[in-house]
Point group: C2
């Protein structure tokens, strides 16, 4: 199992709306994540808009590639894109760079 951590930056004025949207993630989006191996997946939102993702998956590249093939993901990402600051205007899932793990204790 890989432990994966990534960061994104939510726009300052959109934090409340981001929180609300994530209380009601579409069931078919959740199903797609489960089907493609995203487990123990949490998002944490710091008050300055730093968003931290953590998940466990057999293979992060495969999990991302799997979601790329899910039509619901394209719809979700297109709705999420405007919540984030990204100079490249990429879909949020394309901004998820895995951060180096420097310590682990089971």
């Amino acid at each position: 199992m890989q432990r994966v951590c990534f960061t994104l930056q939510v726009k300052p004025g959109r934090l409340d709306e981001y929180r609300l949207r994530h209380r009601e993630v579409w069931p078919d989006m959740l199903d797609a994540l489960r089907r493609t191996g995203w487990t123990n997946y949490s998002l944490f939102l710091r008050s300055d808009g730093l968003l931290i993702g953590y998940l466990e998956t057999p293979d992060f590249e495969a999990a991302r590639a799997g979601m790329d093939l899910e039509p619901v993901n394209a719809r979700w990402q297109s709705q999420m894109r405007d919540f984030f600051i990204d100079p490249g205007a990429r879909d949020p899932d394309k901004q998820m760079l895995s951060i180096e793990e420097v310590f682990h204790l089971d």
Copy 2:
């Protein structure tokens, strides 16, 4: 089980040394963490020095209070203090504020 995420900021010139030190965390420090309920505990280090901690524990306040009573923790924190940027010059473990979880998928 609580899922806890916190951030700290490592000084720009100290990243390599921080990595090295965390490959060789003292065994009695690891034992103290285990004894006080720090499980599935990872540290991730972004290239700009943002350090992200993730752990699972029955009660984060109890886990912190437990470590406060471990003599090895005082020695470890005093050695770690200088790695971090903190206006308050606190020990690193006193800077660990739990960040709001806005989404979770088992």
